[in-house]
């Protein structure tokens, strides 16, 4: 009996260390990536780097202001497009758990999530860029919005499904019509979950390159017109890292760390906001 107990204690210990080891292995790549990028890029980063546009080959200095601004603009409009559609679809799916239409909508969302980003880019190219006759920031926003949709829809749906039914009943029992129950009770109570889904979606597409290759295209200058090609951080990294000039490669490293910092801080912000705004049920 004693032996058996010792054996079980030993087994627990082994399993415990195995779990620690595997958890450590998961974190390892992240640590290496961070160390490597910081080492390669730290020299390139300074205030001028943020506020200047790239200089031609041969000149010293230059920055990524055009790409930074372009990324912010394109992400902003992608969010504006994706949020209403995504949240409303998520509400629909959580309100109608059964039924043919919600089955098919849910299915489409899953398929949409599985479409490679380059395919979404090419679709946007054929549907928007070709008919409009020019590469444009707005076509990039739309391509990114399509990529954001499944994330927002699913997180909204899952959040709202977790809300107790008694909340809805309380609303109906007060004589509220269903649209008010959704707008005034369901969405406010699930707000932190919905918001974190939106933020995750933004963080997820912030680094997307493929859908922007043939939509936003890239631009060596600062551009704020949505109908014109616009530079973004991932595009800049893609173009400059593969060039043969060392200055440009350094620029790409610097842009990488800026992009990384942007995405990481977005993730942290999400965690903070959801903790702060979480509604105690």
């Amino acid at each position: 009996m004693k032996n058996h107990l010792n054996y079980r204690i030993a087994k627990t210990k082994v399993m415990q260390w195995l779990v620690y080891l595997l958890a450590f292995l998961t974190v390892l790549p992240l640590v290496f990536i961070l160390i490597y990028i910081v080492k390669a890029a730290i020299g390139a980063i300074n205030w001028d780097f943020i506020v200047n546009i790239p200089k031609p080959v041969g000149e010293i200095g230059g920055g990524i202001a055009n790409a930074l601004l372009g990324t912010i603009i394109i992400l902003f409009f992608a969010t504006i497009i994706a949020v209403p559609i995504g949240i409303l679809t998520g509400v629909y799916l959580s309100e109608n758990k059964t039924g043919k239409l919600s089955y098919w909508v849910g299915m489409c969302v899953d398929v949409l999530q599985g479409i490679p980003s380059i395919v979404i880019g090419i679709i946007a190219y054929f549907w928007l860029v070709r008919p409009l006759g020019s590469f444009s920031a707005i076509s990039g926003s739309i391509a990114l919005a399509i990529m954001m949709l499944p994330i927002i829809i699913r997180s909204t749906e899952e959040t709202l499904k977790l809300l107790p039914n008694s909340l809805k009943e309380a609303g109906y029992a007060l004589g509220m019509p269903s649209h008010r129950v959704i707008l005034r009770i369901i969405i406010p109570c699930g707000f932190s979950g919905i918001l974190s889904g939106v933020m995750l979606a933004v963080a997820r597409v912030a680094g997307e390159t493929a859908p922007l290759l043939f939509t936003a295209f890239g631009n060596p200058f600062i551009e704020t017109n949505l109908g014109k090609p616009m530079q973004t951080l991932p595009l800049l990294i893609f173009n400059y890292a593969t060039s043969s000039y060392e200055e440009w490669q350094n620029l790409a490293w610097g842009a990488s760390i800026v992009l990384l910092a942007m995405v990481l801080s977005f993730n942290l912000l999400t965690k903070l906001i959801t903790r702060k705004w979480k509604i105690q049920l």
């Binding site: 309380a170 007060l174 004589g175 009770i185 509604i279 049920l281």
Partner: protein, 252 residues
């Protein structure tokens, strides 16, 4: 009868093809507490939810027959109007977690887009909370979230939310089954007070509670209304054998 507020005529409800409530004919009088008791699954909650047409919100649910509220058939009235006249309190306290205590009380107005002036609102909050004996306990924390209160306080807050709408009938679906004995006592005490202004219908699986708080008691079994009479008579001298068996605890 002039004193009748709710009268059901051959009222039945169904889930799909399964009939849960069978041809119930019942008259509920004004300013009384009517208790509905019966074994689990006897259709008492379904019947109660039929009165304010909450039943039909469930999938596959439908009902037949008439329910007359002050002579008007609620089955032919828009459910939103019915629910504004017939308030409901649920098994578990369900204050809106995103609203403060005061906002919860006037939720029926504010979330429905009915504008109240600041003084109307303050008056309504104080009046409703006083009516449920909660005003003294919460008057200094009105802007705190409703979910910070204890279970019993939350349930009284939900009652305040229901009576703020000035309904004529209040329905309670096992209102104390999630509460501790002290909170239960405070809610039961409240029934006595509330019946001066409202007509109360209470579903309970607790016979002692029915005996303590109600004027009249209905006994449901297998979806049928077996017996409906004065509470005293029901418990001392029931007419039907099933009632006798249930009360004496031969089954539950």
């Amino acid at each position: 009868m002039e004193n009748t507020i709710i009268k059901t005529v051959n009222y039945s409800s169904f889930f799909g093809t399964h009939q849960v409530v069978k041809n119930v004919n019942m008259e509920i009088s004004k300013n009384t507490v009517t208790a509905i008791m019966g074994p689990s699954g006897c259709g008492k909650t379904t019947f109660l939810r039929g009165i304010n047409r909450m039943h039909e919100l469930l999938p596959d649910a439908r009902s037949e027959g008439e329910i007359l509220l002050n002579g008007e058939d609620v089955m032919k009235t828009h459910p939103i109007l019915v629910r504004q006249k017939v308030g409901m309190v649920f098994q578990r306290p369900n204050p809106f977690p995103n609203l403060s205590i005061a906002e919860n009380v006037v939720a029926g107005y504010q979330l429905n887009g009915i504008k109240l002036s600041k003084s109307e609102k303050e008056q309504l909050v104080e009046e409703s909370l006083t009516n449920v004996a909660l005003w003294k306990e919460v008057k200094d924390v009105l802007s705190k979230k409703g979910t910070f209160l204890s279970g019993g306080q939350q349930q009284r807050l939900c009652i305040a939310r229901a009576i703020a709408m000035k309904p004529s009938v209040l329905l309670f679906d096992e209102p104390t089954s999630a509460l501790d004995p002290i909170s239960t006592a405070s809610v039961e005490e409240l029934f006595m007070k509330l019946k001066q202004d409202y007509s109360l219908v209470i579903v309970t699986h607790n016979m002692q509670q029915a005996a303590r708080v109600s004027d009249k008691t209905a006994f449901f079994m297998m979806g049928e209304l077996v017996e409906f009479s004065d509470t005293k008579k029901m418990f001392l001298n029931p007419e039907k054998e099933e009632t006798q068996n249930y009360i004496t605890g031969r089954f539950s």
